[in-house]
């Protein structure tokens, strides 16, 4: 029951933080040089449409009213119309959201799990060649420049070897093929996902591995490990059931702390691989001065980060009974 209260409190916190971000963005938009109206209303619109949009978004009202309209609009999902696409912003973003979540979640889970598994091995074989190589490998992959790594992967695997497609999430033929079932489409998406996923995975696995390694080394010195050995458990059982279980906790914390960093990486990856996600839309919108789209994309990303934070916190609370009870 403690868990429920904990979740509730976190959600409240997150909602408050989101409101602050929402307000900050609002103020920023109004403070920036230039006419706010120009920013929200596509100059290529007809005057009547423009007027209607201004009324809906409340841009001709005093500041306080504007703010309330802004907040209300947010909850109604009304973000205005994208300059570039000529379509309502929310339609565009909703279509993009699943793509980002797919890539983001898979990469984080995969890198955390593999990092934990390999970190465990590295700690157990401390000082051996395996350990040295794993540590060096982690240091290198953790610090390599993400967009550059992405370009390298494309160059080698798509251009030179032709193993993987260069861009996109799905091939045109498959997408348009009326006979292609869900499985076929899913496989094709997976095929396109390999390189972007590898990029994100490589960047993040190193951190988890190093954290797990040092956490494991610390845990192995704990008294309850001695107890476990004294009970007659095999080394493998001691390592997995007792040590790793405890040592994995800081990795979860680490993942939580680096979520903002991960989403940066996600946006960069999406851009280089032309993966149609929200991050890419944001970059795209900003470079084309498509303010309504940019603003909404940013808010949506903020929500994704905040929710991920809550998920990670809840996961940690579930794994560590000292928090719950």
């Amino acid at each position: 029951m403690e868990l429920k209260r904990f979740i509730f409190r976190r959600i409240i916190q997150v909602v408050v933080i989101f409101f602050i971000i929402l307000t900050a963005l609002f103020l920023l938009f109004r403070l920036a040089p230039g006419d706010p109206v120009d920013r929200m209303v596509d100059p290529t619109m007809t005057p009547e449409d423009a007027e209607r949009l201004v009324a809906v978004l409340g841009l001709d009202q005093p500041l306080w009213t504007q703010y309330t309209v802004y907040v209300k609009n947010f909850f109604r999902g009304e973000f205005g119309s994208s300059f570039h696409y000529g379509q309502p912003v929310e339609k565009i973003l909703w279509a993009r959201l699943p793509n980002t979540i797919l890539l983001f979640t898979t990469s984080i889970l995969l890198s955390a799990l593999v990092g934990i598994a390999l970190g465990k091995v590295a700690a157990w074989r401390k000082g051996s060649k395996v350990d040295t190589w794993l540590t060096i490998g982690s240091l290198v992959t953790h610090t390599v420049f993400l967009p550059w790594l992405a370009l390298l992967l494309i160059w080698i695997f798509s251009y030179r070897l032709g193993w993987f497609p260069i861009t996109g999430i799905i091939s045109e033929e498959v997408w348009l093929d009326p006979d292609a079932g869900f499985m076929r489409k899913a496989l094709d998406v997976g095929y396109h996902m390999v390189l972007p996923l590898t990029t994100l995975f490589l960047i993040h696995v190193g951190a988890s591995l190093l954290v797990m390694r040092s956490s494991m080394l610390d845990t192995l010195k704990e008294d309850y490990i001695l107890t476990a050995r004294a009970k007659g458990l095999t080394d493998k059982e001691v390592r997995n059931r007792h040590a790793a279980r405890n040592a994995a906790l800081p990795v979860v914390t680490g993942v939580g702390l680096s979520l903002a960093f991960s989403i940066n990486g996600g946006a960069l990856t999406e851009t280089v691989f032309t993966w149609p996600g929200i991050g890419r839309e944001l970059v795209f919108a900003v470079s084309h001065s498509d303010y309504p789209l940019a603003q909404a994309a940013f808010l949506l990303i903020a929500i994704v980060v905040l929710i991920s934070n809550v998920v990670v916190d809840v996961l940690y609370a579930y794994l560590d009974p000292r928090i719950r009870y």
Binding site: Y224, A230, K231, G232, R322
Partner: protein, 337 residues
């Protein structure tokens, strides 16, 4: 008592049914940066079934190392330099790791210090005890194991409704009882208790000691009680062994060692403890420090701090002197009383 027996390489000695544990000339060292540290040097003692032996000494004297060696749980830089450990007639030092695994907890269990983090914080207490049971009796189901845990809780006076709790929810005394319950879970022949009451407050300490003594008598388990506190050991154990700087310096029954200590170190130990009864006297701490165990002195190791020191003590290796058939002392100056 379960029926699993460990088959070892050592041939069983001529069976002495009463002798459970016979340690002969055990030496254990640790490899350190400064050289080989001889933590245990030529220690010998016997423990019979149903009896308890207390190993007393200040920190660093090697008593914990003895306990660890018995369990085969020395750290990677520790190594046995010589001697035999005859448990139920078989030499434990000749056993393989797999054989030792089956002996651990099943035949020889351990109780750790209460202050230690001996229980896994993310596992429920009942699960940890059940794990011990099922490791050695894998044919038991989870249900059956938990039933046994229930019985154990009753044995150590722990409320049954706390079985599903996590260790951090227990008080210090409760944790210690849980550790004792866990040690009893496989009905071992021998329990090594390493400072089990340190860091508990005095009242709880007393309770636990009482309960330990009762359990020992009721269940007939042999106990090797390791402590720095000679008063506690004298309270609970039949026999006492006093260790100093890696060596056993005095060995005898509780009455003999406590009532008529032969070695000057033992005398000094007893003098440094306050007593409520008897006349008020000054506490006499033992000055000086323990000698280096990397390069131990040739003669008696207690020389520098001994009140009866003579120059020949440094040169002559002390020999065992029998003050009685059951009481011996390692000292060149301690002739018959």
């Amino acid at each position: 008592m379960n029926d699993q027996r460990a088959r070892g390489h050592g041939q069983p000695e001529k069976t002495e049914p009463d002798v459970l544990l016979r340690v002969e000339d055990l030496s254990v060292g640790y490899r350190t940066r400064r050289g080989l540290m001889r933590a245990v040097d030529g220690v010998s003692f016997t423990l019979n079934r149903g009896r308890s032996l207390g190993l007393v000494g200040e920190s660093g004297c090697g008593k914990t190392t003895v306990g660890m060696t018995l369990m085969g749980l020395l750290p990677p830089n520790g190594q046995v330099l010589g001697g035999r450990i005859l448990f139920r007639g078989e030499d434990l030092l000749l056993k393989t790791e797999e054989e030792m695994r089956r002996i651990r907890w099943n035949r020889i269990a351990m109780i750790f210090q209460a202050a230690m983090n001996a229980l896994n914080p993310v596992q429920r207490v009942q699960a940890q005890i059940a794990e011990a049971i099922r490791t050695h009796r894998p044919e038991l189901s989870e249900q059956d194991a938990l039933k046994q845990v229930e019985g154990l809780f009753q044995l150590v006076n722990l409320p049954k409704n706390r079985m599903r709790d996590y260790p951090h929810q227990y008080s210090g005394g409760m944790k210690q009882r849980a550790i004792i319950a866990m040690a009893l879970s496989c009905s071992p022949d021998l329990i090594i208790a390493d400072e089990p009451t340190t860091a508990l407050d005095v009242i709880v300490q007393h309770q636990i000691l009482e309960e330990t003594r009762t359990l020992q008598q009721d269940l007939g388990i042999s106990i090797l009680f390791i402590s720095h506190d000679i008063a506690i050991v004298a309270d609970v154990c039949h026999d006492i062994g006093v260790m100093y700087a890696g060596q056993l310096v005095e060995y005898g029954s509780r009455e003999e060692v406590f009532g008529d200590p032969g070695h000057f170190y033992t005398q000094a130990l007893l003098a440094s403890y306050p007593t409520i009864t008897g006349e008020k006297r000054d506490l006499i701490p033992i000055p000086g420090e323990t000698p280096s165990l990397v390069t131990p002195p040739a003669g008696c190791r207690f020389c520098d701090r001994c009140t009866a020191f003579e120059s020949e003590c440094r040169l002559v290796t002390p020999a065992w002197v029998d003050l009685s058939p059951t009481h011996r002392v390692l000292c060149s100056r301690c002739l018959s009383p």
